[in-house]
Symmetry: C2
DNA sequence: GTTCCGGCAGAACGATCGTTCGACACCCGC
DNA sequence: GCGGGTGTCGAACGATCGTTCTGCCGGAAC
């Protein structure tokens, strides 16, 4: 029951177009007729590729999260230094975010819009992702000494820092992702481990 | 054309109920019938107090933002030390957020849902608020020396840190607002000015 | 040439949406 | 008693929603 390559390509294009519209107008404000108009297919034609509007949102969120998780695993593979692991986690997150603003905005902003089994499956990925960051912070503390900040607060503070960017960041502006990533990494680490983080301490991210 | 006190009280209760439902289900998913059921008024009865669903959202956002701004001005009044001004800004924000979770979630999450004149008026308040924080950061740099972090990144990082809490924080849980506020203040300051922020450096917030 | 199926569109379905309308009860000044 | 504002309601409006039904088109299989 495998699909043709052409089928998957068109589905990908459909999801990308839908993510763009969802990001701009929001999930519930966007009608299937809007998506049809934007993607060049007829209204009923959409239902050949997707079973429902819910499933469309789920596919966007699930695939984006899977990509972020895959990038994370690759970025962390073989890296032992907790500080570098943290830096790579942040860098992977922001890098994917900046190059997939629409999908990530939908993922961050429309987390509530799913329900039932779809919500459970996305939340499973989210928990794995959150757990990974908390584990990294535990490793950082093991090396740098106990932080004077609650680890749960620190975790969600960092996620807030990174996920909020869909409200203000323009990937085409004069702020590069590298600057953004290094800034947020130093901003967080400086406050978390209680020591100033200079360029010498912080592993540079472009290597690897 | 002034309203009776009873009128305003009922409108306040209506807005509070609406904010609760908007926060839980989202603005566009919530129907006027939902709001009628939740607030104990009939569907058409809502329109005696409010001209449209848009206006209802606007009133929630505008009043909440006005309250935050008023609290901010009061908290900063007469305070000269930039570090303490920053601490008070953060404390006021989180304090109001934690005690008005529904309204602030609507304010943070439904910023895109307004349009036209309503959007312009809310954005005016938002700009004043953002500008104030950026000015405080400029004062901090003047005292502590230039930061090695872009000020715009720092500003929105801090807002992300604070506004993201509607995704995870439970005001009735075991994390108090005081701990949250101090943690985020230290977390941010430690990374921003590049120096560890001990209890001695950071002004305590309980003093009025 | 016929069959078959993936790909897609037009038209329509029932449901629900935000909003409006007309009417009724209440309470006050007169 | 009576007119007029205040507060509230049930019923209905047209519009739009997500989804489905039916069928046409084109090319590969035989």
């Amino acid at each position: 029951m495998a699909h043709q390559p052409a089928h998957d390509e068109k589905l990908d294009a459909l999801l990308a177009a839908a993510a763009r519209v969802f990001a701009k107008r929001g999930y519930h404000e966007t009608s299937m007729r809007d998506l049809a108009r934007e993607s060049g297919v007829s209204l009923s034609g959409l239902y050949y590729y997707v079973k429902s509007k819910d499933e469309l949102l789920f596919l966007i969120q699930d695939r984006s999260f899977a990509a972020v998780l895959a990038g994370m695993h690759e970025a962390l593979e073989g890296v032992e230094n907790p500080l570098e692991r943290l830096a790579r986690f942040i860098d992977n997150h922001l890098d994917y975010f900046a190059s997939h603003m629409a999908e990530m905005k939908v993922l961050s902003h429309e987390a509530l819009a799913l329900s039932g089994d779809f919500l459970v499956r996305v939340n499973a990925k989210k928990q794995e992702y959150t757990r990974t960051l908390m584990d990294i912070l535990a490793e950082v503390e093991r090396v740098q000494g106990p932080a004077h900040i609650n680890r749960r607060i620190a975790t969600y503070t960092l996620f807030g820092t990174m996920n909020w960017i869909y409200n203000w960041y323009d990937p085409l502006g004069d702020l590069s992702v590298e600057v953004l990533s290094q800034s947020m990494c130093r901003l967080f680490l400086g406050g978390y481990v209680g020591l100033p983080v200079s360029d010498a301490v912080l592993p540079h991210l472009t290597a690897g």
